[in-house]
């Protein structure tokens, strides 16, 4: 790991100020993706701004028909939260299935979303549940947030503050995980929300995406059979040593069926 300057601000405003000082400054959340990348010298920031000391960034709040989760809230806290378990069990189970217990004790929702790993779980949760990402500058709808592989709508100097999830009528997330890394080979979140049916797929392509044909079929009839005959073309899907594009296409339909079945 190359050397860097370390800063430990106590407020979002101070973190934003430190971030805009020039140089190649980066935010540090749980470090579960960033520190690994820095060790490999894939990432070499000049300044590291640790969000760990900023109290206002963590915690889970119920706000009317929404659950708001602070950016620094750890995966384990979301998985264990009584509020999330009661109102959006799909989200609690998604968070509880990320990596392993030690990763869940450090990794944060803000870090996961900003990183936008194509095989990460939270992107499917945010896109499938039609959540809104709140930053220190604006609100970004899920449909506008994920831009491509490791790419998001966040501008330089922008900090995720919280993510607000509207409580769905029903939802479930099912993933076919890589048994070694636990990341998604394919993960599907199917939800019936106030703004319509949504089906979000992670792990399969360069970034999370929705499947319009499945959403339409489920809007007509919420049943596993409705999606059983719908497949996503393999030509834009990933092929790697874990799974071919054709196999991923097959898994999308299977995971979607199971998610619809689970979201009773």
């Amino acid at each position: 790991m190359y050397a860097f300057n370390y800063q430990n601000p106590k407020s979002v405003a101070d973190a934003a100020a430190a971030l805009s000082k020039g140089g190649d400054a980066k935010l540090l959340a749980g470090g579960q993706s960033l520190i690994a990348a820095m060790k490999l010298r894939l990432s070499a920031p000049t300044d590291l701004i640790d969000l760990g000391g900023i109290k206002e960034l963590s915690g889970i709040k119920v706000e009317g028909n929404n659950i708001s989760i602070g950016a620094m809230t750890r995966h384990a806290e979301v998985a264990r939260s009584k509020e999330v378990q009661a109102k959006i069990p799909a989200l609690a189970s998604l968070a509880g299935g990320i990596g392993d217990r030690m990763v869940r004790n450090m990794g944060t929702i803000g870090g996961s979303l900003a990183h936008n790993d194509p095989v990460a779980d939270y992107p499917a949760g945010v896109l499938g549940l039609n959540a809104t990402v709140h930053t220190n500058k604006r609100k970004i709808a899920a449909d506008d947030f994920f831009k491509g592989m490791f790419e998001t709508a966040l501008a330089a100097g922008e900090i995720i503050v919280s993510v607000s999830f509207p409580v769905p009528k029903r939802a479930a997330y099912i993933k076919f995980k890589n048994p070694a890394s636990r990341y998604a080979i394919v993960g599907v979140l199917a939800a019936e929300t106030a703004s319509g049916v949504r089906v979000a797929v992670t792990g399969a392509a360069s970034s999370v995406f929705r499947v319009a044909a499945m959403e339409k079929a489920l809007a007509a009839k919420w049943s596993a059979d409705a999606v059983a005959g719908i497949s996503v073309p393999a030509d834009k899907l990933n092929s790697d040593l874990h799974a071919s594009a054709e196999y991923r296409a097959h898994l999308i339909t299977v995971m979607a069926r199971r998610a619809v079945e689970a979201a009773k």
Binding site: I35, D100, M102, N105
Partner: protein, 153 residues
């Protein structure tokens, strides 16, 4: 940079480079070499310690992220008079180790597991220990040890 924290109940402080990993600080500055480095890529769990009561992989955390924290390593688990923690005792009793390399991380992870899942089923133990790899035992006796310890914790 100056860093201070409590490790196994004792306040410690030192001057470190910002890029120092927590595991390096524990092993090289504090000379607490019970915490092992198996992979250094956050896969194996051999470096698991408790940070403010949560099990975490110390190879994937900066020492600075633990500034002011309360840390427990494998050395801090037994009582001062040498009486083993029920989890350590159960690993011994049920032969939950062979070479012992993974054991400090396994034990620290298992203690956290039982704290969050009192009286866990075999299935829960297997699922929740998936961040700790063991090359020797085939896990069977580890699972037995965790189950036995959970009854005594």
């Amino acid at each position: 940079m100056k860093i201070s924290m409590t490790v196994n109940g004792k306040p410690v402080s030192a001057e470190v480079e910002a890029r120092t990993l927590l595991v390096t600080f524990i092993r090289e500055n504090l000379r607490l070499t019970g915490t092992h480095v198996g992979c250094d890529t956050s896969q194996c769990g051999a470096c698991t310690i408790h940070l403010n009561g949560r099990a975490v992989k110390s190879c994937n955390i900066l020492a600075m992220q633990a500034e002011g924290a309360d840390i427990v390593t494998i050395e801090g688990l037994a009582k001062a008079d040498g009486t083993l923690h029920p989890m350590q005792e159960a690993f011994r009793e049920h032969h939950g180790l062979q070479c012992g390399f993974c054991t400090p991380g396994m034990v620290m992870s298992a203690v956290d597991l039982v704290k969050n899942h009192p009286n866990p089923s075999e299935e829960t133990i297997r699922a929740e220990l998936d961040g700790n790899l063991c090359r020797c035992t085939g896990y069977h006796n580890i699972v037995k040890a965790v189950k036995a310890a959970s009854a005594k914790m």
